[in-house]
Subunit: 419 residues, 2 copies
């Protein structure tokens, strides 16, 4: 069957604009990937009466009601009670959920569980419990007359976790066919450039469909197919995937990876190589991104965040005269930083960044966004000069993207622009 | 009068999750600042019938309906027509709006204006036109019976521009008071512990109100007051704020700051001191967090991400026998790392982290989540032993919180637990 869904977020903080409703966005993407049509998003505050009215409206216009927020043990926890009252489903104590809550609480918090916590094991009668291993509030799905209701926590990481580990598998079990998608990750082309390269394919593509998702400094394409089986979906996607591969060439850096750092991690593992990073403008972002991934310790030896010239000189061994002559934001300093960090960490490869993340330019007339990114190998050191535009976070993210891209191109023996 | 608003975003791309509804967030913040209560957000696709139904519902539960999206000259431009049909207000041609559109088009696009463009000058009869200098689609506000309707473009930059330059001034002219809020940031107490300490105050508090927001490893309380002026709001909040301050003591680390790193940045500026970081398990997160902030270069000299024992020994000078005897995840190694990074960077203070972020424990039987965080000053080195539980991101975030908290307590001459 095809569900028609409404996502109802409960939380006054959303109506005050303290946070954006990213749960609804991520849920919508996830639901689309399994063929569920989302017809409405609704946001309502921590107010039982208004929530009641919203549920009464939703059940008339959708058959899958997904609620986020208001499941915690705090005083404003009201979603569960209100939903069950309106849909006329009693709350019952779920011992297995209580056991999960107790176990997860111990694992996550290592302290005594406050009495209120087990109240979260009171769940709709006959529901399927979604065990929450990244928080304490469990989610659940249950049927009430002609609607199916889903309760999820509002904390984005918990909502995401339960969507991927519980809701999507549950929905896949309901749907007759299969929906499969692949995320194609692209670096080095803007979204308009990708549109130009692939526009005709995107317009034609129905099943499989091909749609772009903008990300900071990169582009992601989602290729999605519906079919009777995963194999049938793959078969549908294969020809288009080949066309897209052919047109994107080296700009396509990975499929179904979390980002450039994951591609680099895999390549380093394959080649049995290690790297290190000397970071000025990225200030630890490169190290942070690679060490976000389990297994980083096998390929990342470490790095130096050289936020002052003294550290560039004393720790990385950048010659003082190079700093004086060219300034910290320069090609020769990027080069010396990369060579220095490779030497002191004993890594096979290394990258370095030096640039102006803003808000201000430097006294040598370099504008904000000027960044030099260096790659050093036993054979050579290459430096890419970028202008990342403005916006501190954006500049830092682009510079770190570039560093990972240089590592990827080195390991895949691809040309490095600007060489 | 006090408006009760509903923000209705029109756009299938929102229901597909291609973008988050940031217009609703920014509008909500803006509306709160002029005392408008936002009761609902609704998102509906580019579908006239469902939009009609959404409007019919909204006019019954709100008296200020703010629409975003669907004003462009494209095929899915339907908001204006549908809103006017449902609210029974005719569209008429506004010559002055047409002149604006023509002028802005020339300024922005420098090319001939497509014929469809002037269709955007068809606006509700008797409306006040909001001239759009950053795009072509004008916005407007008009009254229809007992509701006031506002039309805004969906492009975030245009929506933001018209909100600030036209909608807010219009609302101030109908003025109905101000809402002001302060965010109280707490580290070292769990949300249940904060509930225990402040529950009675939260329950009593109406205007000002006091509500908790969970964040990873810390707690945030938002104190919000309504009044005739910002000064009146502050006056309302002052007594409760003092009570809360008194009960939280040193656990309250900042008000209206972005996080512990901002508090530390301010304190270091005040004291004219610098710091550095030696990071193992946090892998650059401490450096990344401080350098996320403009002005970091004055207080952060740099850091070393020592992800291998070799780098701990060679770069930070951790004695090899200490590593062999106690293992990398140990109190003596944390101590030596902090002292080492302070020496090689020449900073006044330093912090160091070594621990197990997971997924695996170590061969000495330390469980995942074991973290040692050290603070080194010219006078002494203190080490805090934490068990951060599981979840790689969570462990790393908690460890970095702890490092910043140690710096804060040192600079504010507060006791450091575990000393």
């Amino acid at each position: 069957m095809t569900y028609h869904a409404e996502i109802i977020a409960v939380g006054t903080e959303l109506l005050l604009g303290n946070i954006a409703n990213t749960d609804a966005q991520e849920l919508s993407q996830a639901l689309a990937s399994v063929g569920v049509d989302v017809l409405y998003h609704t946001v309502v505050g921590d107010n039982p009466q208004r929530l009641e009215e919203a549920i009464a409206i939703a059940r008339k216009r959708a058959d899958l009601l997904i609620f986020t927020g208001g499941l915690g043990p705090t005083y404003d926890d009201l979603t569960k009670e209100t939903v069950c009252r309106v849909l006329d489903v009693p709350l019952t104590f779920h011992p297995e959920a209580a056991a999960d809550i107790r176990r997860n609480f111990d694992i996550i918090f290592h302290r005594e569980m406050p009495p209120g916590t087990l109240h979260q094991a009171e769940l709709p009668e006959g529901c399927e419990v979604f065990c929450n291993r990244v928080g304490t509030a469990p989610g659940c799905v249950f049927c009430a007359g002609d609607v199916t209701a889903v309760l999820l926590p509002g904390v984005p990481s918990e909502c995401r976790y339960l969507t991927e580990t519980a809701l999507l598998p549950w929905l896949r079990r309901q749907s007759s066919g299969t929906i499969l998608s692949h995320d194609l990750r692209i670096f080095g082309l803007s979204e308009p450039q990708v549109q130009e390269l692939l526009g005709d394919l995107m317009d034609q593509a129905v099943n499989p469909s091909l749609a772009p998702y903008a990300k900071t400094g990169e582009v992601m394409l989602r290729l999605t197919a519906k079919g009777d089986s995963p194999a049938a979906c793959e078969e549908r996607m294969a020809p288009l995937l080949e066309q897209v591969r052919g047109r994107l060439g080296a700009y396509l850096y990975g499929i179904d990876v979390s980002g450039l750092e994951e591609t680099v991690l895999h390549l380093l593992h394959q080649h049995g190589k290690t790297f290190s990073a000397a970071e000025s403008c990225t200030g630890g972002l490169i190290a942070k991104r690679i060490t976000d991934l389990p297994g980083a310790s096998c390929v990342f030896r470490g790095g130096v965040v050289s936020y002052t010239n003294e550290v560039k000189a004393s720790v990385l061994g950048v010659p003082q005269e190079t700093l004086d002559r060219y300034g910290a934001v320069s090609e020769p300093v990027a080069r010396a930083m990369a060579e220095g960090v490779r030497r002191i960490t004993g890594s096979d490869l290394s990258v370095a960044t030096t640039g102006l993340a803003g808000p201000d330019g430097d006294d040598r007339g370099n504008p904000v966004g000027t960044v030099f990114v260096a790659l050093s190998t036993p054979e050579r050191t290459a430096v890419r000069h970028m202008n990342c535009g403005s916006g501190r976070d954006r500049v830092r993210m682009l510079a770190s993207h570039c560093a990972f891209d240089l590592l990827r191109r080195e390991l895949e023996h691809l040309p490095i622009e600007g060489e």
